[in-house]
């Protein structure tokens, strides 16, 4: 799931690929609140994974975001 998240961040949100590592924080990859809403929207629209922007803002790292994605997609 980390690879999926990385692909979204790089291709949709135009984050530099080298920045996207599991231990990176939101600040490290420069994801502000608008970008987190964008991410939430792409997850819903293209992967049918429903995670609110508030939930994404609560987890500390990119790796944690990927784990959250795994949990939610498993429930579907």
């Amino acid at each position: 799931m980390f690879d999926t998240l990385k692909e979204i961040l790089v291709n949709k949100l135009k984050v530099t690929p080298e920045q996207v590592v599991p231990e990176a924080t939101r600040e490290d990859v420069e994801l502000d609140s608008l970008a987190v809403v964008e991410l939430s929207l792409v997850l819903d629209k293209e992967f049918s994974i429903v995670i609110s922007d508030d939930e994404l803002l609560e987890v500390p790292t990119i790796g944690d975001m990927a784990r959250l994605m795994e949990e939610r997609s498993a429930k579907v």
Partner: protein, 406 residues
């Protein structure tokens, strides 16, 4: 030198002739029309436009930055970077609190609005982008420029339709003369070539119907003109007080010596047939510059290629200016850049004054016989101490800039 003169120390352009002052001015001097069939308008009633060629925002601004900007802001940032560098200024070291930004646009980001409206009605309201408003709001033009250049002084966007770019420069000059700041990044930017906007302009009867012959469609002051061709791009000027520019040894490319602004208060789209409002703006600009009507040697006209504008403006110029100035409309080359037009044409006015050369009016084959003005049809070297740049907007807003030799 007039009491309110400000120095133009930097220029930046993104136009349908290319990215940068060099290619834009070269095309203007060659009188090379840029109108062409536009792939994004294919299948629409209006299929021609003057599009900025090979504009790659990812390369020019970086993918992350470009992704969050509408095209009209992307143009402005690219032009502003050129202008600030041209002025020899370094945003890393300047006192940002003394740097203002005043930019003009007619519309903001209609392409972003149209794309997100499709998401709303065709896909899912929940999928509308959070970037819709930060990308399309007109004020983002100045807000994003402030972020780019760490310019924390006065910051505003001016909207006077097709006069916006010139109105912005006039307002920027006022900020300097009132000592609100020391440097202003000013001009205009526009990216309105979308199927919806073009359909609207066409329904107003404003656009040329020469859909099969784009290169000859924009023909200011020609007897056979039948409307304008829409263009896109940005023009940015760096302005400083003359004394400040001299103190830091900056190259002064020309001076903005006067500004006149009026409203027709006549009709929402038609210019006043007697040109009363535009004539008043012209006289106001001359009075502001401390100049007389016979002093003007060159006019970069609004010259849209619409039947009504060019007749009213041409007659007004004959009536108001007694020094037989050499008139041109660079819209024959660039098309009508709408809210950016006044800024791009002010930049062309600066270049004409600096190089003592007037660019030609493209596609002028049979001058309108009702007009008695001298119009350049070839690049013409001539003495220019004072030039005017005219810009008039739907809504009746008129802005005239007086540009003096440095």
């Amino acid at each position: 030198m007039g009491r309110h003169d400000v120095a133009v120390t930097g220029l930046g352009l993104v136009t349908p002739a290319g990215i940068g002052v060099g290619p834009s001015w070269e095309a203007a001097l060659e009188g090379r029309p840029t109108a062409a069939h536009d792939p994004e308008l294919a299948g629409n009633p209006v299929r021609i436009a003057c599009r900025v060629p090979d504009f790659n925002p990812d390369l020019l601004l970086g993918g992350r930055r470009a992704h969050r900007l509408d095209r009209f802001v992307q143009f402005a940032l690219v032009a502003a970077r050129e202008a600030v560098a041209d002025a020899g200024l370094d945003p890393a070291t300047w006192d940002g609190a003394r740097v203002g930004v005043v930019l003009g646009c007619a519309d903001g980001g209609p392409a972003t609005v149209e794309a997100q409206h499709r998401v709303l009605i065709e896909e899912n309201p929940a999928w509308v982008s959070p970037l819709l408003l930060p990308m399309q709001l007109p004020n983002m033009l100045a807000g994003q420029t402030a972020i780019e250049f760490r310019a924390t002084g006065p910051n505003l966007v001016v909207a006077t339709a097709c006069a916006s770019g010139a109105s912005a420069i006039g307002a920027a000059r006022d900020l300097l003369t009132l000592d609100r700041c020391d440097i202003v990044i000013t001009g205009g930017s526009e990216a309105m070539i979308t199927p919806l906007v073009m359909a609207g302009f066409a329904k107003m009867g404003a656009l040329s119907k020469r859909q099969d012959d784009p290169a000859t469609a924009s023909r200011p002051f020609d007897a056979d003109r039948d409307g304008f061709v829409a263009g896109e791009g940005a023009g940015v000027l760096v302005l400083e007080r003359v004394a400040d520019a001299a103190a830091r040894g900056a190259r002064v490319r020309a001076r903005i010596a006067g500004y006149g602004a009026t409203a027709d208060a006549h009709h929402v789209t038609s210019p006043h047939p007697d040109g009363i409002g535009i004539e008043a703006a012209l006289h106001a600009a001359l009075a502001d510059a401390g100049a007389q009507p016979e002093d003007v040697q060159h006019v970069n006209a609004h010259g849209t290629s619409t039947p009504l504008n060019d007749l009213a403006e041409g007659r007004m110029l004959h009536r108001a200016l007694t020094g037989d100035p050499l008139v041109t409309s660079t819209k024959g080359v660039t098309g009508h850049l709408l809210g950016a037009a006044g800024a791009v044409e002010a930049a062309f006015g600066v270049l004409a004054v600096e190089q003592q050369c007037v660019p030609p009016t493209a596609n002028l084959h049979t001058p309108d016989p009702r007009l008695d003005i001298k119009i350049a049809t070839a690049p013409t070297t001539t003495r220019i101490d004072l030039a005017l740049s005219n810009s008039f907007g739907f809504g009746g807003q008129n802005a005239v800039l007086a540009i003096a030799r440095a």
